[in-house]
Amino acid sequence: MSELLFQNIILQPKYIKGAQGNLFSLFSLPKDKEQTIFLFLPSFAEELNRCRVMVAMQARQLAAQGYGCVLLDYYGTGDSQGDFSENHWEQWEQDVDSVYQWLQTQGYHNIALWGLRLGAMLALSCAVKQPERYSKVLLWQPVIDGSVFMTQFLRLRIAMLMDRGLKKETTQEMRAMLQAGSSIEVAGYEITTQMVQSIDAQKMLGYLISDKLPIIDWFEVTMEEQGELPLASQRLLQTWADKKINYRVHTYTGPFFWQLHERELTPLLIEKTLASLKLTG
């Protein structure tokens, strides 16, 4: 495993000016300005923290191959300025744009998007809106329906209430409270109306993918080797196949590292990601 870590490769902390305040990122330079630089978009709330080790490991692997990386903390998350309650979809799109513009001013024009979970959905959403901007789109374990994702997230509150023997609430009741304009606390995070509504509205099935978009590389874990993707993913990808959208699926087995407390590595995913970069198309 030690050769996977590349601890000697330093990811440099860097503040990038965003629309609302400074955005924290970890940065590694590509070997030259023509080489691809990957902008990593993390997931939401606790998933953002739990994936850090794995993402840093992938970034070091990419660096060892000459690629660059920017590992972004969205405005209001991690070490960026702002408060978590200011998070919402349009803010994230704004952050992606800020980093893209900054990379342009630094002379980097070969920019790729790489996202995990909700960040993968955001990566595709940004690429769909500006397909000419990005040279690659890597989706790790993409969320394909914002409201399904949000319901799963809101259930953390149900589980917490259950654990403490408190009065039950349903996600519908939580959504009603949000609808009425009040924020709620879920797993220690302040969840706002704008946050939930903007995420709820995202449906990958509705994304209009033009042929200007580079091929989409889709990475998803399966329960067993060569196992099938979850039904929801299969259905979405079938519609892409019908529309002749260019994509490749890479499955792997391993732990759900974005969910876990203890640091857990998924070397198979890293290998497959690196291998995908060597494919043409």
Partner: protein, 81 residues
């Protein structure tokens, strides 16, 4: 469908329990007995059951009773088939 095998695989994949899962029986306590089974763990297991069975679990169905033991969770899965 081998529910026991499925549930063991889900617990292993989502809670980092390693090889310990192999020896689980119906009486093995879960909620309150496993530090790994926190709120996020409960939600992730519910989601995994939904995805593997292609079913929907209502908020009302999420209860401490279902997560009490390995056996009660197996029963819950059976009720969703």
């Amino acid at each position: 469908m081998d529910i026991e095998k499925l549930l063991k695989a889900i617990l292993q994949q989502h809670l980092q329990l390693g090889g310990a899962v192999a020896s689980y029986t119906s009486e093995t306590p879960l909620l309150g007995a496993l530090p790994e089974l926190d709120s996020m763990g409960v939600v992730n297991i519910i989601t995994a059951i939904e995805e593997n069975l292609g079913c929907t679990i209502d908020d009302d169905e999420i209860s401490a009773e279902s997560f009490e033991t390995f056996g009660s969770l197996m029963q819950f899965i059976e009720s969703k088939l």
